[in-house]
Amino acid sequence: MNGEVKKGYVRGLDIKNGRVDMSHGSGGRAMAQLIEELFASAFDNEYLRQGNDGALLPAAGGRLVMATDAHVVSPLFFPGGDIGCLSVHGTINDVAVMGAKPLYLAASFILEEGFPLVDLQRIVQSMAAAARDAGVPVVTGDTKVVEQGKADGVFITTTGVGVVMDGVDLTGANVRPGDVILISGSMGDHGMAIMSRRENLDFDVPIESDTAALHHLIAAMLESGADIRCLRDPTRGGLATTLNEIAKQSRVGLTINEEAIPVKPVVAAACEFLGLDPLYVANEGKLIAICAASDAERLLAVMRAHPLAGDAAIIGAAHVDPHHFVQMKTSFGGRRNVDWLAGEQLPRIC
């Protein structure tokens, strides 16, 4: 009977006490069981149900955007989220800031031998819920297991595909002198949420990660008809580093106004305590938009009307600068460079 064991004779996964072992990555029955009971049931959708090595998808009808993102965040669970929902939001946002409607996700797991199944289930369920809420299904995936000590619990790589509407052309190279810079909310929440949970820092403040999928906000911004040149999500390296990337790509200078940049008081205090600059701390649910000056106020109103961008703000403008510097008018009345991040401010933040 094709080697199949009669149902009822197979013992289900012991989620409560079980742990990932090497057989879960062997390609054999244990792996099939893990995939079926833990992954397939959580992510269930018509493409995954095809049960093939790859997902067969309908033609999308437009220019495609594809983005991939590996997630190695430590700790795996943090205030406001976990590696599961983060891996969904992160890739959806990378696709969406290109002006695309995200359609599908692929997910690849590297599991460390000994990882508790109950934690894995919690992560997978959080991921599935995030994908469901976003309306972007996980249509294919892969699982590998490595020996203890060769990974750190679980690493998740997600890849996303989306389609761009005609007429939408967003790139970091589009910015022109005179354009206006907007951000969708407070800076540094995700990084400081992670930091507050790092084991060697007994630092207990209620900072929650801002991890969120931004594609609905972006759709509303695009629908407004505002002349948006470029969108970016300021993740690793924070606002400062992302602005430097844009300045370099577009060959312009950018000047921001310190007083206009929203930073939550608790995040500012935590940064102060640790000697970090919130402008360099990662965000996972915020975006930078650069648009034509004439459309800035209108775009700001559209953003503020969305629940994920209630604190959106105009923070600066682009200008001619052959050195492509990012500068800041300090609240103190001086002026300074806002440079690329040097070295590593916070390792394994996403």
């Binding site: 200078g253 000047t255 102060e272 403008a317 609240s331 300074r336």
Partner: protein
């Protein structure tokens, strides 16, 4: 943020700046050294130099712990990690200080050395407790601010009987470095470094008090104003220094009264002198050998002294020839006077130690102020 925002108020700054401009005599030049990297950082980050009149010049001093750490000391820590299989714990900035053979502690880590970044010496002792089969060394650096926690951890390790833990002690002393600068030929003989007064350290003075600086005002006739690290503190201290010069006074004044007393933290001082004692001499990057300028672990705690425990002798290593860190740390040159500044030497690939920490004069100027060196078309 309460107790922070008050000291970053742009409106108050305008008032102090107006006073500075009014009181600084136009026929005089004022050159003040801010000893501490914390002040250097505040001056660059808040653009304070822009607010000052042209005849008030700030000279960056050597008070940046990683900047004055000589190559040979980092080499010792790297040897412990790579050759003796020791877990080396240290503060973040120390990880990136360039050492011999194109190595740093961070690069030693990539080569398999067990190097761990910590926020407090307590973390290092915890790592030792958690790894009883490994040897753990805390690579301790810094001025008087970070010295008491190091002394405390050594005492704690002894009291608890933790035997796999020791400290590579590189703590240095502020007053000795100020004396060294005041004695240097550039200041005393040639006058190439005009020095009219000092902004005294903030956190260091919390520990040692204001009393140790009285020598500089009485013996060397240099005014000292101890100031906090917030931008308003710095501006106020500059104003106080200008007033002293104008009045012909040379006193130790305390702008940082919210934290500094004349005696300092006696408990911390007692802890330090119980565990640590003066070294006869210590090499500083940039300043060379400076007599009685650093601390070592007392023989009663010899078991916790990594230098004797592992017999790693100190071997001085010369800085890269092109690097001007030495002259910059003595106030003789500015970062932009260095040929490798911003070209070969950047915060990503520091050649000299002043480019490593955000408190270093070169890194501060590179990160916050280099747009001033080149013509920029502005908004």
């Amino acid at each position: 943020m309460k107790y922070i925002d008050e000291f970053r108020d742009g409106e108050l700054a305008k008032n102090i700046v107006a006073n500075i401009r009014r009181e600084a005599a136009t026929d005089k030049n004022y050159s003040f050294m801010e000893f501490c990297g914390g002040h250097t950082h505040a001056i660059s980050r808040y653009g304070i130099a822009d607010l000052l009149p042209a005849n008030v010049r700030m000279i960056h001093g050597p008070g940046c712990p990683v900047c004055v750490l000589p190559i040979g000391r980092v080499d010792q820590a790297i040897r412990l990690a790579l050759e003796l299989n020791v877990i080396v714990c240290t503060y973040a900035d120390t990880m990136r200080v360039p050492a011999s053979d194109n190595l740093s502690l961070m690069r030693a880590k990539a080569r398999g050395g067990d190097v761990r970044m910590i926020y407090s010496p307590q973390d290092a002792l915890k790592i030792a407790r958690d790894n009883p089969l490994r040897e753990v060394v805390f690579f301790a650096i810094g001025f008087e601010t970070t010295t008491p926690p190091t002394a405390l951890i050594i005492k704690q390790a002894k009291d608890e009987g933790v035997t796999n833990f020791s400290v590579l002690c590189n703590h240095v002393l502020t007053p000795a470095a100020i004396t060294h600068i005041l004695q240097s030929p550039e200041v005393r003989q040639y006058g190439t470094v005009p020095l009219d007064g000092f902004i005294g350290p903030a956190h260091v003075s919390v520990v040692i008090g204001s009393q140790p600086y009285e020598h500089f005002s009485s013996e060397y006739r240099k005014p000292v104003v101890i100031a906090g690290f917030e931008p308003l503190d710095v501006l106020q201290a500059i104003l106080m220094l200008i007033r002293q010069i104008n009045d012909g006074r040379a006193e130790v004044e305390n702008e940082f009264t919210r934290a500094v007393t004349r005696e300092g933290n006696l408990k911390a001082q007692a802890m330090v002198s119980e565990v640590l004692e003066l070294r006869r001499s210590f090499e500083w990057r940039g300043l060379g050998e400076v007599p009685y300028s650093a601390l070592k672990i007392r023989s009663a705690y010899a078991l916790y002294d990594a230098e004797t425990r592992y017999g790693i002798g100190y071997k001085p290593v010369a800085d890269n020839k092109a690097c001007e860190c030495g002259a910059i740390l003595r106030g003789v040159k500015k970062p932009q006077d260095c040929k490798v500044f911003g070209t070969v030497c950047t915060p990503e690939n520091p050649l000299g130690s002043c480019m490593v920490s955000s408190e270093g004069a070169c890194a501060a100027h590179y990160s916050y102020g280099r747009f001033k060196d080149i013509e920029v078309v502005s908004v």
